[in-house]
Symmetry: C2
Subunit: 303 residues, 2 copies
């Protein structure tokens, strides 16, 4: 079973660890997932967590390259990987940091993140999705938006990341839903009319955000706003506010969204009302394409 | 010890329960506090929580009036007290709701909250502080601001609450500090220069809020921003954003702040840079004055 393994791609974020095992023909022979994300691991727990997942695919006497991206390279991760500074292309394998592994069957490369000096900003993982996107769209010129816990808006030109800005929209949504008074008034669900209404509100008079949050609570108490309507209005408010702040990134330029379908469709829906016509690219496909591009380069430069 | 007790004032919020025991000469004979706030009590636990605090001051064969305000009258409280709708004076004892008490030694009145139809808004407890403030400032005309978990901006004219708006600033601050990525980068402390800088940022381009939150994280990672500076900048950002949204309440009008000294001084400091010169009133003193005003009225109307 293990003789044919060529390398292993790893996307290791805050909440999940995912691995793809490749054979020498470039085919995926296994797709593995675990909930051992960076957020729950002490620094000496990374190698055991990885081995628990991939050990069946390792062979004695053979050192298999493992190429990883994401929060595994954060200060609280396995080992801190360097950042590449903008402007730069999505950083390649030659700038990877080796993670200290005791098992002689693996050699672990953690791809760099990307940083920006002013305004201070960082990404870890998204740069690999961007690399994957540019691998199949080498002439893309415009903005990539990667919605998520920390949504990234990224200006791309001539194959380089020129500048970017992170909006803490998803993180804020979860904190408000779970840890403010709105936990009594809001519950996840789908109500696109309420979402659209929130987007329109968030785009206009963004200084009213913290008042509008309490209005959702009061609307529930006084006028029977449903919990689903409240959460959808909240989602819209935060995304609308973000779109107002990110205007320089989407106005009059080509935009592509990279991420999960459900969230990307919300951004696309909102952007289309503003005249932008974003294309969509699947986040998992892009991260894997980025890791493959890194591995192709590894073969070229050798280890 | 109990023969001389005339009535008991109660401020019962989400996190605390406080009681003041008055004798027939109008003097406070005991000040009592407990952590049995509304947030931790089921509906049948309110009477035991109250009795645990005040029982030593009750006399057999005598029914002592207990006058309460705050979240004890919320839907999740002891019993839901009515709301008075704006425009209205701070609601008086004749609109109080009787709480169901089994102990014959107490008669419990919960003062009404205040509601507003559009934009939907509610308060519970602040109206009693407002009543206390107006008892000693009957000719006040302008804006009362009550900073806190849910900061209230209240337009007062001719002794009435004309309109108000709640900003979820304190609740949001706590949720961001405790439950977003900033929990790794921010810790409470005092750094007024960072606070002022945050206020200035929050006042300008409020649509950048969610991006600026992440900038605090990145400033810590890349440029060594301290955890205290990050929390102070966050506090300033949220208060600055609130002041931008509440402009119609403080611009060109008399403003008084009611609340705890530390938080009120932050609001006063920020407002003064905008040309407003708010006076400060102590929140505890005002709630007690409001409860006393209600009790005086109770004597007039009888029970």
């Amino acid at each position: 079973m293990t003789t044919n393994v060529d390398w292993i791609a790893v996307d290791w974020g805050t909440t999940n660890l995912r691995a793809w095992v490749f054979d020498s023909a470039g085919q995926i022979v296994a797709t593995l997932t675990s909930d051992r994300g960076m957020g729950v691991l002490e620094c000496d727990a990374f190698e055991p967590a990885l081995l628990a997942l991939i050990a069946p695919y390792l062979a004695d006497g053979q050192r298999t390259p493992v190429i990883a991206c994401g929060m595994v390279g954060a200060r609280q991760g396995w080992t801190e990987a360097t950042y590449a500074d903008v402007p730069c292309p999505p950083p390649a394998i030659d700038r990877a940091t080796r993670a200290p592994a005791n098992d002689p069957r693996i050699e672990v490369f953690i791809l760099p993140g990307v940083s920006q000096n002013r305004p201070a900003d960082v990404m870890r993982g998204e740069e690999t999705q961007i690399g994957g996107f540019l691998a199949s769209n080498p002439n893309f010129d415009g903005t990539l938006c990667l919605p998520g816990t920390h949504t990234k808006w990224v200006q791309i030109s001539a194959g380089e990341i020129i500048s970017f800005r992170t909006f803490m929209t998803g993180d804020l949504f979860a904190a408000i839903m779970g840890h403010t008074v709105l936990r009594h008034s809001a519950a996840k669900g789908q109500d696109l009319a309420s979402f659209d209404c929130g987007v329109a509100e968030g785009l206009s008079r963004p200084e009213m955000l913290t008042a509008r949050l309490f209005t959702l609570r009061a609307e529930g108490l006084l006028h029977g706003m449903t919990a689903v309507a409240a959460s959808e209005r909240l989602s819209g408010l935060l995304i609308g506010q973000e779109l107002a702040g990110a205007k320089q990134y989407w106005l009059g330029t080509q935009v592509a969204l990279i991420g999960g379908a459900a969230l990307c469709e919300r951004y696309a829906r909102s952007l289309s009302t503003l005249g932008a016509k974003p294309e969509l690219a699947d986040g998992d496909t892009m991260v894997l394409a980025g890791l493959r591009a890194a591995q192709a380069r590894l073969k070229t430069i050798g280890t």
